[in-house]
């Protein structure tokens, strides 16, 4: 097998793919909460993706991604047997895993993918786990079975009510709290806006809340500072100081504004990339 070769590729939902990639060095070292940086081809951009799973024996890591721009589009065009141009990791500080007691894991959309290895590790550490999985609509919900297998209880919500209950993840969390559930830790991963509202709610309940941030990155090793985030008024580099932080201290508006900085250019490069009709699967 060649370095960074795609060993398996599966369609998980509209625009969401799961890829297993041969990267023995990374598989050996990967811990929950860490990410990789990849480049699909020579003219491509470096993008970070959280490792969704790893198998050190097979030397394989799993990446799950949603096609949202040029790089993820090009990535989705790779076939089994093709190789990524570059792949480096594992990066970032691993999740601190211990027996907290009862942990609520909130995953929204593609955020369920990075949540999965953390839940797996928390389960192994003996925690009781309640999952709240949210998606826009039923067909976009990913990893439901895998998550259910780890959870003591799994609750699902969709924006349009096509599956589980109609509404957003915070509604579910609210009711969980109202029914008197004892919660020791909340972990929320999803779009910034979802994490922001989960944190606003858990701040009211005074529940410690961990989030994983996804700012724009270039090198991923602390060299450039593109991924600056503000945590409790202090500037941190998400690539080395994170990507996980105390959700109650995050400056969410800053994160969301910085994420939008290249919107115009991203549209241009995505349109150009789509003209290349290698056509996914």
């Amino acid at each position: 097998m060649k370095a960074f070769q795609v060993v398996k590729k599966e369609h998980l939902s509209e625009q969401v793919w799961r890829m297993k990639i041969f990267a023995p060095h990374i598989a050996k070292k990967h811990k929950a909460g860490q990410f990789v940086i990849l480049r699909v081809e020579e003219k491509g951009e470096r993008i970070p993706l959280t490792v969704a799973d790893s198998d050190s024996k097979a030397g394989v890591i799993t990446l799950i991604f949603q096609v949202v721009g040029a790089t993820t589009h090009k990535l989705s065009c790779l076939k089994e047997g093709d190789c990524l141009r570059d792949l480096v990791g594992p990066l970032g500080t691993p999740t601190h895993i211990e027996k907290y007691g009862s942990v609520v894991a909130v995953g929204g959309g593609i955020g369920i993918a990075p949540l999965y290895p953390i839940v797996k590790a928390l389960k192994a550490a003996g925690n009781r786990l309640i999952g709240i999985l949210g998606a826009r609509t039923k067909s976009l919900l990913i990893l439901e079975e895998e998550m259910r297998a780890l959870m003591d209880e799994t609750l699902i919500s969709t924006d349009d009510g096509s599956y589980g209950e109609r509404g957003v993840v915070t509604d579910v969390l609210k009711r969980l709290k109202e029914r008197g559930e004892k919660i020791d830790l909340v972990i929320a991963i999803g779009p910034a806006i979802m994490m922001k509202f989960v944190c606003a709610l858990t701040a009211e309940y005074k529940l410690p809340t961990l989030v994983s941030l996804n700012p724009i990155m270039v090198d991923g090793t602390g060299m450039c500072g593109a991924c600056r985030v503000e945590i409790g008024g202090e500037t941190k580099f998400a690539c080395v100081d994170g990507p996980e932080f105390d959700g109650h201290k995050v400056n969410w508006d800053l994160l969301m504004k910085r994420l939008r900085f290249y919107n115009e250019q991203e549209k241009v490069s995505y349109e150009l990339a789509k003209k290349c009709t290698c056509g996914g699967d």
Partner: protein
């Protein structure tokens, strides 16, 4: 009667008007005739001061003598006895404070153009074709293995010196391309990347193995490397940008110089959308700082189409750490210098992007620890400048990944690895050199440190095996 000294032969270059519209190298370099003429200005001093002014002690009068005779092949061989990266050094060394500063002719303000001649020899050899480039002789294999962390100037020097001594060297590089700051930091118009890659290919021909996309400290730790290698050299550079920690510094459009230059140089964002990595093409760009990195950032911003580039420096022209040549080029290209000025706050628009920079006027006070006059703010002198892009080029700190993941490796209060003159650290078998030890400095000083560390590594591994 003293012989009349001819003036320095000027090096032809792209005109400022033309070059700010492209990323091609600014100087064209000497022709053979120009090189011979310039070489003939050398007085061939009996006790040459230039050699001791060179951190890697190139036999300068000797190579210049060969250039004068037209023996360019002999000249490049002479240079390569002590410097394997002459095409790079000829371009980015601060010769005016090293070899050329102590040249006897410098008294008249016109030292021999040693850097230009070094560059000429290297380019002449490269123009013959890569297969004709002479490889230095390597000692028979010793069976010893050395891991070099970081493919920048220090690491490349260590690798070449140890390969020549017969050791098996593997370089581990975090980024997807080798070269370190030579590739992500220094722009194409000052150092064409192909020159760096050609030098690296020569190292590979000497048997050096290069592994990119490999972060020591993450992918594998220094301690794990020590199980597989007889010694480890750490040359990870000054890879963490400093910010001023002033309000508004995280607004959109405010970059560290590292990010701005990495996007443009390593990721080729100046070719966007032909390449995928975007960069903000600002109309009014402020660059904070007075070093070479600030000049590189300012000149890159011009080439990316800025209408105005304001260089903001808190001291005066005299204290600027940038090379005179870089300042001169920046001025010629239209960079506006604002001295005795320091930003104190940024103001943003509704989208969270920078629109104004609030500055204070400064005056010079008593000398500080660097020996330069301390800039002192003038109270109530606040004023605002409209800008849409800011590049913070006030220096780099040590990258923490290797020190944090290596137990008992001593670092100083700035996070730099503590090492002696020969690169020995607090850990046996672990050596370090370049910016990770000294803090941000020059390419050639990192190469000098690499040279000394290579000698120390050689004696360490040879003694260890005879014990």
């Amino acid at each position: 009667m003293a012989k009349k000294i001819e003036p320095r032969v000027p090096m032809p270059e792209q005109s400022p008007k033309e070059r700010i519209r492209n990323f091609n190298e600014v100087p064209y370099g000497y022709t053979p005739e120009m090189a011979k003429k310039e070489a003939s200005r050398c007085l061939q001093c009996k006790k040459p001061k230039c050699v001791s002014g060179c951190p890697v002690e190139i036999n300068i009068p000797s190579f210049i003598g060969l250039v004068k005779e037209g023996d360019f092949g002999g000249a490049i061989k002479k240079i390569k006895e002590t410097n394997l990266l002459p095409a790079i050094c000829g371009r980015v060394c601060p010769q005016e404070t090293q070899c050329e500063e102590v040249c006897v002719l410098a008294k008249n303000g016109q030292p021999v153009a040693i850097g230009r001649l070094e560059r000429f020899c290297a380019d002449w050899e490269r123009s013959l074709g890569e297969e004709k480039i002479s490889l230095p002789k390597c000692a028979p294999p010793t069976g010893k293995k050395v891991a070099v962390v970081g493919a920048g100037p220090a690491g490349l020097t260590v690798a070449s010196d140890l390969a020549k001594l017969g050791h098996k060297v593997t370089i581990f590089e975090a980024l997807h391309k080798p070269g370190g700051v030579l590739v992500y930091g220094i722009p194409e118009f000052r150092l064409p990347k192909e020159i760096v890659f050609a030098e690296v290919r020569i190292l590979q021909k000497l048997g050096v193995e290069l592994i990119t996309n490999y972060i020591v400290g993450k992918t594998e730790t220094v301690d794990e490397l020590l199980e597989r290698y007889d010694a480890v050299f750490i040359g990870t550079g000054a890879g963490a940008p400093a910010f001023m920690r002033i309000p508004g510094e995280n607004l959109g459009g405010i970059y560290s110089a590292n990010e701005y230059l990495t996007r443009s140089n390593l990721m080729k964002a100046y070719l966007f959308p032909e390449t995928d990595t975007p960069i903000h093409r600002g109309k009014v760009v402020a660059v904070i700082g007075g070093g070479n990195v600030a000049m590189d950032s300012a000149r890159t911003a011009l080439r990316l189409g800025a209408e105005r580039v304001l260089l903001i420096y808190r001291r005066t022209r005299e204290e600027m750490p940038a090379r005179a040549e870089e300042v001169h080029h920046a001025e010629e290209e239209g960079v506006e210098f604002h001295f005795l000025t320091n930003p104190v706050r940024y103001h943003g628009d509704e989208k969270g992007n920078v629109k104004e920079m609030e500055c204070l006027k400064m005056r010079l006070g008593e000398p500080d620890s660097s020996g330069r006059p301390r800039p002192v703010p003038i109270e109530n002198s606040n004023f605002r400048l409209s800008v849409d892009t800011v590049i913070v080029a006030i220096g780099n700190l040590a990258n923490p990944i290797v020190p944090k993941s290596t137990p008992n490796l001593t670092v100083n209060k700035n996070g730099n690895i503590v090492a002696d003159e020969d690169g020995r650290t607090s850990r046996e078998g672990v050596f370090a050199g370049g910016d990770i030890v000294t803090g941000a400095a020059t390419v050639i000083s990192a190469m000098g440190a690499g040279r000394r560390a290579a000698r120390a590594i050689h004696s360490y591994i040879m003694e260890k095996s005879s014990r």
